[in-house]
């Protein structure tokens, strides 16, 4: 039995090409048309891959034809975008994919959920049998080990999640923290939503347009505050998200100092995502004030990404431990099957062959 992977990803194809092959073919369709013993289609926004097990070689063109949206695209034209891995290389590739090493954002964990979903779907339809079962179960195990034994998933890599992570490093639990959103822009809304998803319940919104303030407050479950009152709110709040279109800084050390008098032992976290900035950068020098503008949030995201990249070698080492072991175990199983001339049946949902 030959294990193989045929597919295209963000490494080899642009989004237009990828979408021409995404979401069209089901695993059982590949089985019927290409003649695989087992097949599984993994489709995400960054990749379309077919994992298969077959006794005879199934060509890449054949798989591509099954995947193509025939009317929109001629599969043959896109053949160079497809890659193919067989045997040990296929195993290694899946382990890397499941661990997030092959993702656009290294270490992202969404891919593991997507792989599990694809496997469940193929198993339910009977397209995935014992060989793919073993392959994917080991891949999930390896991915988990990579996540727990390395820091590949450490840190946030988007502006919203960086802001939430920093807030948690300053305040710990966010459930009792008070947040003021000043200026109801799209990024503020995303950041506010990220904070709400981490437990923030006291959220106030202030905007020059009171209608927009009420609208955003309604969307995030907050309370609208008149724009003239935002300075008074600063005495109470813990987190300020600001993104107004003001030309001059709204907060300077001079006008912030009186607001801080009564709250010397309570930190103030300011997320300034306005361009031009709403907060004078010198505010960051004040005791207990932590100011992050859009560039510094981006910089933290890049540092996290760099930290993740440093972990690639450790993650690859874990994968390298598992690949030969898995290949050896599956070869032993296949030899035993060959000797007894019993071909594992895909329809056999009890997956007895796993005991090989």
């Amino acid at each position: 039995m030959n294990l193989f992977c045929v597919g295209l990803s963000h490494h080899t194809a642009n989004v237009e090409t990828r979408e021409s092959f995404a979401g069209h073919a089901e695993s059982d369709c590949i089985l019927r048309r290409a003649g695989c013993a087992e097949a599984l289609v993994l489709t995400t926004c960054n990749r379309v891959e077919v994992y298969g097990a077959s006794e005879k070689r199934v060509s890449t063109d054949e798989i591509a034809r099954c995947l193509a949206r025939e009317i929109e695209k001629d599969a043959h034209q896109c053949a160079p975008a497809f890659y193919r891995y067989e045997g040990e290389k296929c195993v290694q590739h899946l382990f890397r994919v499941a661990s997030g090493l092959d993702s656009m954002v290294v270490g992202e964990t969404e891919i593991l959920g997507q792989a599990k979903k694809a496997y469940e779907s193929a198993r339910a339809s009977g397209a995935a049998g014992p060989w793919l079962h073993r392959l994917f179960q080991r891949a999930f195990h390896v991915a988990k080990q990579v996540r727990t034994r390395t820091e590949i998933t450490r840190g946030s890599v988007s502006v919203g999640s960086v802001a939430v992570d920093l807030a948690r490093k300053i305040f710990g639990q966010l459930s009792k923290r008070k947040v003021l959103v000043l200026g109801a822009g799209e990024t503020s809304e995303r950041t506010a939503r990220a904070l709400v998803s981490r437990g923030v319940t006291d959220l106030r919104v202030s905007n020059r347009s009171s209608d927009r303030a009420r609208e955003l407050a309604g969307l995030v479950g907050g309370q609208a505050i008149p724009f003239d009152d935002w300075r008074d709110e600063c005495r109470e709040i813990d987190i300020l998200i600001t993104s107004t279109s003001s030309e001059a800084p709204l907060l300077t050390p001079a006008n912030l100092a009186p607001m801080l008098c009564d709250r010397i032992d309570r930190p103030l976290f300011i997320i300034d995502i306005a361009v031009p900035r709403d907060v004078d950068p010198r505010v960051n020098e004040m005791d207990g004030v932590y100011l992050y503008d859009i560039d510094s949030l981006q910089s933290v995201a890049e540092q996290s990404l760099a930290l993740r990249r440093q972990q690639i070698a450790a993650a690859e080492a874990i994968i390298a431990e598992h690949v030969p072991d898995f290949v050896a175990s599956i070869s032993r199983g296949w030899n035993r099957v060959s000797r007894t001339a019993e071909r594992p049946s895909i329809a056999d949902s009890s997956l007895r062959a796993l005991e090989l």
């Binding site: 390395t150 490093k169 710990g172 032992d265 932590y290």
Partner: protein
């Protein structure tokens, strides 16, 4: 035999330090039971050493600088064992272990284990005063450690340069809460130590001791009245402990050069 116990104890604490450094450098640090168990084991060996030494002396083993250092290291570990699990502060053990290694390593290497030519008689008030004061120092040491952790975390947040350790250090507010509680614990014990010192027959360097007491009182007052920012409280905890350690050295040195019955 007793020194062997101390060497094993130091090795236990050293294991916690080495493991943390290696894990942090490799970026694979995970908060687990290892540090707590290593420190716990080290603490058991420390206790065994102090017990053997105490029985041999027939009194609390605080008769020379060597014993004072070991007793202080034991107090630091004791306070950590008591408050560590309650505060659940990640890396607290990793920061505590190096201090204990330094104290015990210095005590083992330096020629300071000088036995008194004559057996000192038991003096309950003096022993109570000395032991309770050193346990207070243990609490101040932990406050100092939490202060260092606070300053490290605060600096990373201010400069926006986040290293691997950033993700393992506790939140600033949790650290500050721990600092405050440890300061109160240390201050309470130290007050008891100072008061009991008045019942001893020794002319203790009370002025310096009261100076340290006043420094911690001022830190707590500044914290209570919200006159001191958390960062300054953290920095003062470090300064306070260094001052307290210097005083402890001075007291012990003076006691050794002017031994009293």
């Amino acid at each position: 035999m007793d020194r062997l116990l101390l060497i094993v104890s130091t090795l236990c604490f050293l294991a916690a330090v080495v493991r943390t450094i290696v894990a942090l450098r490799a970026g694979i640090f995970r908060t687990g039971q290892f540090n707590f168990l290593a420190i716990g084991l080290g603490f058991i060996f420390q206790t065994a050493f102090l017990s053997i030494r105490g029985h041999a002396l027939g009194r609390c083993p605080l008769t020379n600088l060597f014993e004072v250092f070991i007793f202080l290291a034991w107090s630091v570990a004791l306070v950590y064992m008591l408050v560590g699990p309650a505060y659940r502060l990640s890396l607290m053990g990793a920061f505590t272990a190096p201090l204990v290694v330094l104290l015990q390593g210095f005590a083992l290497i330096a020629p300071i284990d000088i036995r008194h030519p004559v057996k000192l008689p038991a003096n309950p008030w003096l022993e109570f005063h000395a032991s309770i004061s050193i346990i207070a120092y243990g609490a101040f040491a932990l406050a100092c450690i939490a202060g260092v952790m606070y300053l490290v975390q605060e600096r990373q947040l201010k400069t926006r340069q986040l290293h691997s350790i950033f993700y393992h250090l506790p939140p600033l507010t949790d650290l500050f809460a721990a600092i405050t509680r440890l300061l109160w614990l240390g201050f309470g014990l130290y007050t008891l130590g100072i008061v009991s010192g008045f019942f001893t027959s020794r002319p203790l360097p009370r002025v310096a001791a009261i100076g340290i007491w006043m420094l911690y009182a001022a830190i707590l007052q500044g914290r209570h009245l919200r006159r001191l920012a958390p960062k300054r409280v953290a920095a003062l905890c470090v300064i306070g402990f260094v001052a307290a350690l210097t005083l402890l050295w001075g007291i012990t040195f003076s006691a050794q050069t002017h031994p009293l019955p």
